[in-house]
């Protein structure tokens, strides 16, 4: 996926001016957060579960090598193969290699953000293998040559009309605005693709070390057909997805569904444990797990380590007022919203993604709903610190903050500055006591007035009162009790 993160400001402006997108985002804001809140309310022990989830993940991260090796041992024992991939290139090559050995012409795909991260579709296509997305949202996006704007609801930026138009155009069918009819249309087209595919590629929500299993959770069942029908099943996933036991996995499934969609459980929870065994009725002949690192192991022992706890539920973006205003595409790469604003700078570099950790009010809503208590605002601030250290912040802004800090460190000078500012801003406010425009192209007064100061600083008035009275009182306060 092309990196458009440096263009965040323009993209977000366009997003704000796009009525279709704004309508879609309105649906999101009124959907997932409400459902999550209801699901959490129905489960009194949810907070305990969150703490336990955090602790298990911390334990895994501290012993990552152990659990990954245990996972590999058990996958191999079950007759499967683990392919270690340091970076995107390694992962792409490993997948293409398996596809070519299987003489694959088409591959079906379950939804996988990691496959977006490594640009898998483009790579397979350019090497003569046709990928077919089977998640409904991803399928719509593939037809539109579009990309996901959300990690679990990839086509959340679209409305029914958009889907209707593209289906009619690509399938040659009459326009319909009946969602059930559209779904049926997709189902019929995809059914043939499932049967024809030589290889099925899915992601994994979790990798279970004790059994060597991977699990995917979906609400459509497309993942099951992707992983059981073709001769070869490839799982593309990352090293941070490993959990010790099935018991632990169950805990995360309970957290995941409630945090993501407000369901108590996702509809389809499908475990894959090796290729088809002798007496199995169906299943793939080969089972491969491509385990991608792509910089994640470097986060261990740094200020960003806690990010590895993420279970990709999307609660942070569903509740983020910035994501809710501009949508996922504005972020300009694979992972949007608060989790993306922490992860993306690690994956593509802070030089290209500086806007992401800056475009946050640090309102803390994301952290408050994160099922594994990731301190997302704190880590966004750490990226701002990296930016500051590398002198990447815009010069004007840096100068402004530097000047302000110079005064804030010197109380006497600061008093003078506050006095002068209060005085001049009050003058500018005039009789209306509101400032409608400030010099230069000011972001504040472009959209709102600046209420003018009352006049005179608190510190000056306090001092004056102290010198004239024994008990302090506000000069305007006529009804002091």
């Amino acid at each position: 996926m092309q990196i458009n993160s440096p263009d965040f400001k323009n993209s977000s402006k366009k997003a704000l001016d796009n009525p279709g997108l704004q309508k879609a985002l309105g649906n999101l804001r009124n959907g997932f957060p409400v459902k999550r809140a209801n699901a959490v309310q129905r489960m009194p022990e949810f907070e305990l579960l969150r703490n336990e989830g955090r602790d298990i993940k911390n334990h895994v991260i501290a012993n990552l090598d152990f659990y990954l090796e245990e996972f590999e041992t058990n996958v191999t024992k079950n007759g499967g193969n683990v392919h270690w991939a340091c970076d995107a290139e390694d992962a792409r090559k490993a997948i293409l290699d398996i596809c070519q050995k299987a003489n694959a012409k088409t591959v079906t795909k379950g939804k996988s953000m990691v496959s977006e991260e490594i640009n898998l579709n483009e790579y397979l296509e350019s090497n003569g293998v046709q990928p077919v997305e089977t998640d409904l949202g991803e399928y719509i996006l593939q037809l539109r040559e579009d990309h996901p704007s959300h990690i679990i609801a990839p086509a959340i930026h679209l409305n029914l009309d958009d889907v209707s138009s593209i289906f009619s155009e690509k399938h040659g069918t009459p326009h319909t605005s009946d969602p059930a009819a559209l779904m049926q249309e997709a189902r019929e087209v995809l059914r043939d693709k499932f049967v024809a595919a030589d290889v099925g590629i899915t992601g994994a929500n979790f990798c279970v070390a004790e059994t060597g299993s991977t699990i995917i959770v979906t609400n459509e069942g497309n993942g099951d057909l992707t992983q059981t029908l073709p001769r070869v099943h490839i799982v593309i996933t990352t090293i941070d997805k490993v959990v010790p036991t099935l018991e632990d996995m169950s805990l995360f499934l309970r957290l995941l569904a409630r945090s993501a969609t407000g369901q108590e459980f996702t509809v389809y929870n499908t475990l894959s444990t090796g290729p088809r065994r002798e007496n199995d009725a169906d299943g793939p002949e080969e089972y491969h797990v491509v385990l991608l690192d792509n910089g994640r192991s470097e986060m261990i022992g740094t200020q960003f380590q806690d990010m590895l706890r993420c279970i990709r539920c999307s609660a942070c973006m569903n509740h983020c007022p910035v994501y809710g205003a501009v949508g996922g595409h504005a972020y300009g790469w694979v992972y949007p919203g608060p989790m993306g604003s922490v992860l993306t700078p690690k994956l593509i570099g802070i030089e290209k993604s500086g806007h992401l950790p800056n475009a946050s009010t640090f309102c803390g809503k994301c952290e408050s709903v994160c099922p594994v208590h990731i301190p997302l605002p704190k880590m966004m601030r750490h990226w701002r610190e990296k930016e500051f250290e590398k002198h990447l912040s815009p010069k004007g802004f840096r100068f402004g903050i530097g000047t302000w800090a110079y005064f804030a460190k010197r109380p006497a000078l600061y008093r003078w500055l506050a006095r002068a500012s209060a005085f001049s801003l009050k003058l500018m406010g005039g009789k209306s006591r509101r400032i409608r425009s400030l010099p230069l192209k000011n972001g504040w007064t472009a959209w709102r007035d600046l209420p003018a100061p009352e006049g005179g600083t608190f510190m000056d008035q306090w001092k004056k009162n102290q010198s004239t009275e024994t008990s302090p009182s506000h000069p305007d306060n006529k009804c002091r009790s």
């Binding site: 977000s12 704000l16 007022p321 910035v322 205003a325 501009v326 800056n358 475009a359 946050s360 009010t361 640090f362 309102c363 803390g364 809503k365 952290e367 601030r381 701002r384 610190e385 930016e387 500051f388 250290e389 912040s393 802004f397 903050i401 302000w404 800090a405 804030a408 460190k409 109380p411 008093r415 506050a418 500012s421 801003l425 009789k431 209306s432 006591r433 509101r434 972001g443 504040w444 959209w447 709102r448 007035d449 600046l450 209420p451 100061p453 009352e454 600083t457 608190f458 510190m459 008035q461 306090w462 001092k463 302090p472 009182s473 506000h474 305007d476 306060n477 006529k478 009804c479 009790s481």
Partner: protein
């Protein structure tokens, strides 16, 4: 007040915005603290909590500013301010210093003694003798840092509930950020505008006469938007109502009698 215990000695953390934009919030805070039996002092070397530097990634300037605050408030039993955001910042000071820095322990002490005003009155002093007169309905915006870092949610409502004839009309998404975010509103004005527009329409929908909150940054943002839109909702800091100091014009309002203005 209990007569047996000596009064609490409280240092007022004025906050830079209150100092410059709306001193009456500072005086209202002092009045409430005094009504609750505290002795209030205002250290004159205080400037700002350092949040603009902290959130811009400038840790070393933030640490310098933090040292100034720590020195200024040395020896106070409590540090109280009319802002969840600034008090939340004071509570983060310990992470600015390494373990062998003498300021580390002092920052930790400061963090445990720093309180937002409504939380201090209710949670620490169990004070509820509000003597105020206010007619009409209000709606309350829960500012983010106060709400999520300090757990300020019921405290202001509990205190407002002591005022006869004051009716609280809760708005939708009261806990959603107003889009101020310190430097955010200057760096990303368009996104900030969308957020504050949502807030102003949620406030309008309640039909309340007044919008209250506990952080002047958010209040300036919301008042600025409401006034630009021509709304008649008046915006005030919650302490102005609690201290019965609503004679002064609301935030961004002209004097009632323009002839008296200079």
């Amino acid at each position: 007040m209990t007569l047996t215990n000596p009064p609490h000695r409280v240092g007022l953390f004025v906050t830079c915005l209150v100092d410059m934009f709306r001193p009456s919030i500072g005086f209202a805070t002092v009045k409430l603290l005094e009504q609750a039996g505290c002795i209030v002092e205002v250290p004159d070397t205080q400037t700002c909590c350092g949040q603009p530097s902290f959130n811009s990634g400038d840790r070393s300037s933030t640490a310098e500013i933090a040292k100034n605050v720590i020195d200024a408030f040395d020896g106070f039993e409590y540090i109280v301010g009319p802002s969840g955001s600034c008090i939340g910042m004071l509570r983060q000071y310990p992470e600015l210093f390494s373990d062998n820095d003498p300021y580390k322990a002092r920052a930790e002490t400061l963090a445990t003694r720093a309180y937002e005003i409504t939380s201090f009155l209710t949670d620490i002093l169990s004070f509820d003798q509000i003597i105020a007169d206010y007619q009409g309905s209000i709606t309350y915006h829960d500012s983010c840092a106060g709400l999520r870092e300090l757990g300020v949610k019921n405290q202001p409502r509990q205190l407002l509930g002591k005022i006869d004839n004051l009716d609280i009309k809760e708005m939708n998404e009261a806990e959603t950020c107003c889009g101020f975010g310190g430097t955010f509103c200057i760096k990303y004005p368009d996104i900030s505008n969308r957020m504050v527009s949502n807030k102003s329409s949620n406030a309008e929908d309640t039909g309340a006469k007044t919008l209250l909150g506990g952080d002047l940054g958010c209040l300036l943002n919301m008042a600025g938007k409401l006034k630009r839109e021509g709304s008649t909702i008046e915006v005030r800091h919650v302490v102005e109502v609690l201290a019965n100091m609503t004679q002064a014009p609301a935030i961004g309002e002209a004097q009632y009698d323009l002839a008296n203005e200079l």
